[in-house]
Symmetry: C3
Subunit: 256 residues, 3 copies
């Protein structure tokens, strides 16, 4: 159903890999976000899956966030809420999944993508996997992904990212603040670590892991409603003059 | 009204600078704290202000905390509560201000001053801007500023500062713990960054920023009462024998 | 009453040292945990004690966690709950103690031992004092010590330790995440710092310290019940097939 991007799921020896790709720097349109949320829901109840590895395809960017084309086409509050609920649904699926979710972060991540990374249980990254919360630059904010990012890196680091919306924070910063569990100098090092940990977890006690996931995410039970409230904030802001002007500027730039 | 110190406010192109100075190492008597709180309240409703830069004058010290002379003159619980409410009121004004508050931290900060820095949304510091919570050394504690400091650097780092009251933590420690958003090797680097960010924010969406400030400070709604309860703890402890003796020792030392 | 290990308490000049030792790498059987909890309770009401230093004897290991022999002998849920309540009672005694608890961490720490360190108010460690939460490797999890560890190092770092149960995190990681307040290159440096801080605190205001301890541990009032609920989770998991098999493998290994 998705024309240009895909979400691909494969299971081997208890390890399920979910891979996504979109030609526009792995930005995520609503359809792909729906598919991601759906896959994670299914996996939670799949007896063949003991651990999940979330990854993306492509050279430099792990995830560029929400689809800019879709964002530019939002015409009213309902469409705004609908659009920004996309990341909310994926994050909620991840936090409720009883299986551990390992991330393989091979490149830069922006906006909503940082929320995906924050919702992973254990993100393994490579040097160069820098991050940015650029929402404020177009008159919105990281409202939907905020709770997930803040839970991982704390209120201070989250607010620095959100306020300084035009600057990249490098991968080492992201690791020191706790967004990444590990940071490797090479892709090979990262892949060895993803392999080692997913293999170990696939041989661990499912019951113990399910109890661990409960305590890791204890206190986030209200996110089902909170993240939708947050989506409504973004959905309203995106209709303002500031965002319209910012989008026109960006489009003019990319056409010139 | 203030004899020796001043609080000075200037607005240019949407950027409001609040500068304070006191000849005793930028320590803050009650009058100056009142004036600071008042200025921040006014700015929150000033249409010409889109972003605030909080700074102090002088060479080596950003802020030495509460005025020692005033502290030494407290005679009863009411005066104690009144005195320690000074920083509470400034911190509450900062957290409720809908405009982002950038800090320019050009030197050392002690006690209540660390609370001011913690209540900024984005503090930019220079090497040498070391910090200390020295309250315990005179028989009190960082009770009023505690919630702001703990929110920024976490329970662990806050307790280490409070317990080890006679040691400085250097600026790099303060940055790694999250008190500073940025740390620069030179004053020029710090000032360029303050300039860049305040300029960017002055051109950002006011609505988006106001929503961001709400989520940054979500969960602190009870601080209006909490910080006054904390002021009462300090106001009671300061009347004890331990503090009286400590103050006499300090005074004897500074006279000899 | 304890055959192989001991808990020894000594008070000099307001400083009470609690030292424990067990020949099996300072692992802690129930009896020693009871004695530790009892000592901390007594000290809280001892007028001669103004500050506590918690330390262990032996070369390389500060604490290897729960006694493996005892764990292997658990036959039902009641015994499981009883066993895992050991660390819960020590942690609850530490958080309710009105005197500051300094830790001297001279070597590696595993499992429940990491919970002890997390419940200290100020842990001073030496290079090589690496940590591991190995519970998942035997089909259980760091449920009882979780709240104490998470409070100190945050949700992210806690979950990385719990998920990656077979890997050591080095002492520098533990310091950067906030588990250790200080990390020294040498035993001498560590001991000088323990000495300096305990001496300073023994001359500080008891009233101010008691108020500080209250605010440090504010919000943990429910741990009396929470930690026992957590003990019940471990106590149930430990009866499962996964743990039985894991224990047999470990025993076979140590006999070969």
């Amino acid at each position: 159903m998705i024309k240009e991007g895909y979400v691909k799921t494969e299971t081997h020896n208890g390890i399920t890999s979910i891979e996504f790709h979109h030609p526009q720097s792995n930005s995520l349109p609503s359809k792909m976000l729906e598919e991601l949320a759906q896959e994670i829901h299914s996996i939670a109840h799949d007896d063949d899956t003991r651990v999940v590895v979330l990854r993306s395809k492509g050279e430099k960017t792990f995830c560029a966030g929400a689809s800019f084309d879709e964002l530019a086409s939002i015409k009213n509050k309902e469409e705004g809420l609908q659009f920004f609920s996309g990341f909310a649904n994926v994050i909620n699926a991840m936090r409720k999944c009883s299986k551990p979710i390992i991330g393989r972060i091979h490149g830069k991540t922006v906006g909503g993508g940082v929320g995906l990374v924050a919702a992973m249980d254990y993100a393994i990254a490579v040097e160069g996997a820098d991050i940015k919360l650029s929402e404020l630059a177009i008159g919105i904010g990281p409202f939907v992904v905020g709770p997930a990012v803040e839970r991982k890196i704390g209120t201070a680091a989250f607010s620095y990212l959100a306020i300084d919306a035009t600057s990249w924070r490098n991968a080492d910063w992201a690791k020191r603040k706790g967004l990444y569990a590990e940071l490797h100098p090479t892709l090979e090092g990262m892949d060895e670590s993803v392999s080692r940990l997913s293999n170990t977890l696939s041989h661990s006690s499912l019951d113990a892991i399910a109890e661990l996931k409960k305590i890791f995410w204890k206190g986030t039970e209200h996110w089902d409603t909170l993240l939708l409230e947050r989506a409504a904030i973004s959905g309203k802001l995106v209709l303002g003059e500031f965002t319209k002007t910012a989008i026109q500027k960006f489009k003019a730039k990319s056409l010139s």
